[in-house]
């Protein structure tokens, strides 16, 4: 069944690529703006031969990874603190609900004012956008702690720290994983957006340059690269999730006893 699905998926992708080749060649769309697949592939090959491309990719990944790491750590620490300290959740709830929906891109002017076109600008936007994804999931996850599990831990004299470590954290982990996976996708979007708009070094700026110089196939090639990045990030996050949560119901499936 898995093999069949994979084959069908490959066939679908091949058909899509063939369509991308045929439509411009048949003159159904203007070739100058919609280059055929083969032209895009060619441009992609040229890009990979250019060391500036790799530098740009590295810059984007640095902004993405650093931002995601900071946002995840902050989201986890703040989420656990808010949940564990009495009353803190009630005190912060309305503020969180106010700050969370602010679109990160609305902060672009602020980022430019503060940090110009440096990496820190990108980080500000990436962290702001991904932090909430993680925080909200952690808050949900911590609420999911089973009272019986917690009472068991208390009855065996586990202190606050041991209960966080052995009960609260494993319970919240599936939620944390979901949060980080969502945050990883959002972080990539924000990294590219800020490079594109602010002009911080990275793939986003390279896309902007390609646009300004009318290098349409290169433009498409770079877009394909960002898409592939997103795909890889999601696959990677799912793999980590499956490994870390082998014990969890959603991963282990039904067990015969």
């Amino acid at each position: 069944m898995r093999g069949v699905n994979a084959a069908l998926g490959a066939a679908g992708l091949a058909a899509f690529l063939a369509l991308g080749e045929a439509v411009p060649r048949l003159g159904l769309v203007e070739e100058a703006y919609f280059p055929p697949t083969s032209r895009i592939a060619e441009a992609l090959a040229d890009e990979t031969a250019d060391s500036a491309f790799w530098t740009a990719l590295g810059d984007t990944l640095t902004g993405w990874a650093l931002g995601l790491a900071i946002a995840s750590c902050a989201g986890i620490v703040v989420g656990v603190l808010i949940s564990v300290v009495p009353y803190l959740r009630a005190v912060t709830a309305s503020t969180i609900e106010f700050l969370r929906p602010i679109p990160s891109v609305a902060l672009i002017p602020l980022a430019v004012l503060l940090y110009g076109t440096e990496l820190r600008s990108v980080l500000l936007l990436v962290v702001y956008a991904s932090f909430w994804q993680v925080l909200i999931q952690v808050l949900y996850g911590v609420q999911d702690v089973d009272p019986v599990a917690d009472e068991t831990a208390r009855s065996y004299g586990l202190g606050a720290w041991a209960r966080i470590r052995h009960v609260l954290w494993p319970t919240a982990l599936p939620y944390v994983m979901t949060g980080v996976r969502l945050a990883a996708a959002v972080a990539l979007i924000l990294a590219i957006t800020s490079e594109l708009v602010i002009g911080a070094p990275g793939l986003g700026r390279r896309i902007g340059v390609a646009q300004a110089s009318q290098a349409v196939p290169e433009l498409y090639a770079l877009i394909v690269v960002t898409g592939l990045l997103g795909l890889l990030i999601n696959v990677g996050a799912r793999t980590v999730e499956r490994r870390a949560l082998a014990w969890h119901q959603s991963v282990r499936g039904e067990v015969a006893v």
């Binding site: 019986v148 599990a149 068991t152 065996y156 052995h166 014990w247």
Partner: protein, 259 residues
Amino acid sequence: MLDVRGLKKVYEGSGRRVEAVRDLTFTVGAGELVCLVGPSGCGKTTLLKCVGGLLTPTGGEVLLEGRKVSGPPPGMAFVFQEYGRSLFPWMRVGENVELPLRQKDLGKARRRELVRDALESVGLADAVGAYPWQLSGGMQQRVAIARALAYEPRVLLMDEPFAAVDAQTRADLEDLVRGLWRERGITILFVTHDIDEAVYLGERVIVLSASPTVVREQLKVDLPVERDQLHTRVDPRFAELRTHVYEQIQAAKKGVVAS
């Protein structure tokens, strides 16, 4: 060993005031196996959680070896009814049993030894590397019992531990508990709603009234120490005792004051 004096627990919340336990006084001697039985909803679990230091009583006090219980005391272990939720699914059986020991000041070798010994006692020595959810319900409750044993408690509190397992498994587990009690000389306070179980297991049965709970009767079970499922349960004395407890519980449900 264990003194419960004038214990009272009132739950207050959302405009409702529920007096779960009114006034409970009883003692459990060192090395005794006492069963608490009462009509359903009579606050047995509340009582046990107060004894275990998991709930703060509204009035009265619990003394363990003369010391007031104000939080879970180190010499006490708790076995819950919901074994599936009480064992941690993210830890293997061995880790589950070992976790409480990590809070004690024990060397790694000693911890290993205690874990192995406890799992052997419940007949699950080879399940050490399995996850709890890979085991059957009865086996999971055995793991929970092993976790309590490894903790080397002087008092073991059991809250309807066998209510959720099938009848055959239940009989095995009852014999296991009696066996462990005799072997290890632990003091056991065993809460159940099952009258037969209370009489079969206990050296003494404390019958509780309906909520708000008081002690209705204390009954010495004068059956031989050596008990087995086949013979003890058809012993005429067993039948007498269980009938007596049954009548008490029925009367408690109707709210008749004990004579």
